[in-house]
Subunit: 69 residues, 6 copies
């Protein structure tokens, strides 16, 4: 029974409830299809990381967004 | 010095302060007893995941709880 | 740019190279579709955990498989 | 259904099969007792980290062990 | 493209925005220098763990701080 | 006492012992300097992920390297 952890940016970029349900559904189906495993107890955890706490290429996502404006 | 990470559902299912202290104490003692390691600096992190972000078998915990009512 | 971590059992239950490519492809596409994010740098890590190191319901997967024979 | 991840040093400090089973059993029981949750599908993953890859206080565990001889 | 996750205590011990930017910058530069990798898409995630959820040596950080007063 | 986890590609791209020691030393010093914390027990874990298990933008690192030849 695999375990999946998805980290995404939160704050104003946070996924909606519907998007989270779709991600959980989609990942669970994908793993069932590809690995042929019983997924009835497969755990998917989505963690929303604040934009000041998520760095890409040395800059926080918050700073990156500002520099793109 | 091992490191332990425990993910549980948060929101109304979040563990109480006392429960968290018991988990930290219990896991630390267990690892000391089983592995015979010095646990004076053993780190245990408990992460509370919102019920909309915790999926089991393709459904969010929030949806699972509703469907059981 | 989300980050995805998938933990599965290894040893004789380890996914094949093709299955790993399918999981990486599928998860990346899913996140792009659902969140509408640029996924050109999305990281997916698959970790294969030995069956003696993966516990479900208090038993290692190794033990669970034996008890099902 | 909580998820637990335990990182310990591997190589010659790796836990034995019996110790891993005891850790899985013990953590599962502890969480059941403390949180009163159904643990029949609780996942515990033990990851063995090579001593050259595990740093404490700025030194790898390998180096720390040498300096204690 | 490495992925880095830093867990620190939150609440009144949470790092400031400037400290988080410095950590992200510093870790990204360090990995670029040491591993010679292109770090333009290197992901660094900083997770702030509440002091009641962070255990060291069997006690929550909250309790440890109290006992030091 | 923060906890740091670094995931890098393994196999022929794995960091050397010296590089791992430098990463551990560097990250520990950085956190001490930026957060002013006692780092004598700070844990840094480096995980080497096989190139078939590390996906970027929908392709395994193995495939990406081939397509760049």
């Amino acid at each position: 029974m695999p375990y999946v952890n998805i980290k995404v940016t939160g704050d104003e970029e946070a996924p909606t409830k519907e998007q989270k349900q779709k991600l959980i559904e989609g990942v669970t189906k994908l793993i069932g299809d590809v690995l042929g495993k019983n997924t009835s107890n497969l755990v998917v955890v989505i963690e929303e990381i604040p934009m000041d706490n998520y760095g890409i290429g040395g800059l926080t996502v918050r700073e990156r967004r500002k520099s793109k404006k």
